[in-house]
């Protein structure tokens, strides 16, 4: 597609349940990022995939968070045993080369009740 696609756009889940968030990057983009945007917290880096290199997971806040990228394309962010503090907008971005800029998806708004 022409842009970065994220699904679902909204997700309401009960505390303790697992959730999966999906990101379809722009075709051919080798770099893929996940960020979290919370009120009062700004944009927080979670994880970065670049080609076939090992991902940079340094931003994942706990071992309840994990992400994978299959075939160098689609990525799934999984949050296990969700907590209320996980409520946020989760943004995905992709890039061919950084100097051309990074394209962000519209995000998934996660609400944990």
């Amino acid at each position: 597609g022409a842009g970065v696609s994220q699904s679902p756009s909204n997700k309401v889940t009960e505390k303790g349940k697992d959730v999966e968030l999906r990101c379809d990057p722009i075709s051919g983009h080798t770099a893929l990022y996940w960020y979290r945007q919370s009120l009062g917290q700004g944009l927080e880096f979670l994880i970065y995939f670049q080609g076939n290199s090992a991902p940079d997971k340094s931003g994942l806040p706990s071992d309840r968070f994990s992400a994978e990228r299959t075939g160098g394309s689609v990525s799934t962010l999984t949050i296990q045993r969700t907590q209320q503090e996980d409520s946020a907008v989760y943004l995905c971005a992709s890039s061919l080369e950084g100097r051309y800029g990074y394209t962000f998806g519209s995000g998934t708004r996660l609400t944990v009740v």
Partner: protein, 117 residues
């Protein structure tokens, strides 16, 4: 390590007057710098980027920014504000090597721009 500081959390201007949103950065290597805009309940849109070419960068919607290495600044300006410019603006830094940006993006805390009629 890299970091970004946006010096104002809120800026308020009148329509038709100049806009200045300030950004200072810290980077161990040659930085690439970006400004993104986020309108309410919308995604992040790239306004402009600096990646070691011309230090004065022109972006969309009349915005521009100047990279000043000596001051470690990348302030965003626009000569005349429009009501549609009201949004949140983010300054972003990443590292550059060989003309290619790589690694994670580090965001500033954002500046909310309000435009009064």
């Amino acid at each position: 390590a890299q970091s970004v500081t946006q010096l104002d959390s809120h800026v308020s201007v009148s329509e038709g007057t100049p806009v200045l949103l300030r950004c200072n950065y810290s980077s161990s290597y040659s930085p690439s710098l970006f400004w993104y805009v986020q309108h309410p309940n919308k995604g992040l849109q790239l306004l402009l980027k600096y990646t070691s070419a011309a230090t004065l960068v022109k972006g969309i919607n009349g915005f521009e920014a100047e990279f000043k290495k000596s001051e470690t600044s990348f302030h965003l300006t626009k000569p005349s504000a429009h009501m549609s410019d009201a949004a949140e603006y983010f300054c972003v830094v990443t590292e550059t090597a060989g003309g290619t940006s790589y690694g994670k993006l580090t965001f500033g805390q954002g500046t909310i721009l309000t435009v009064h009629p």
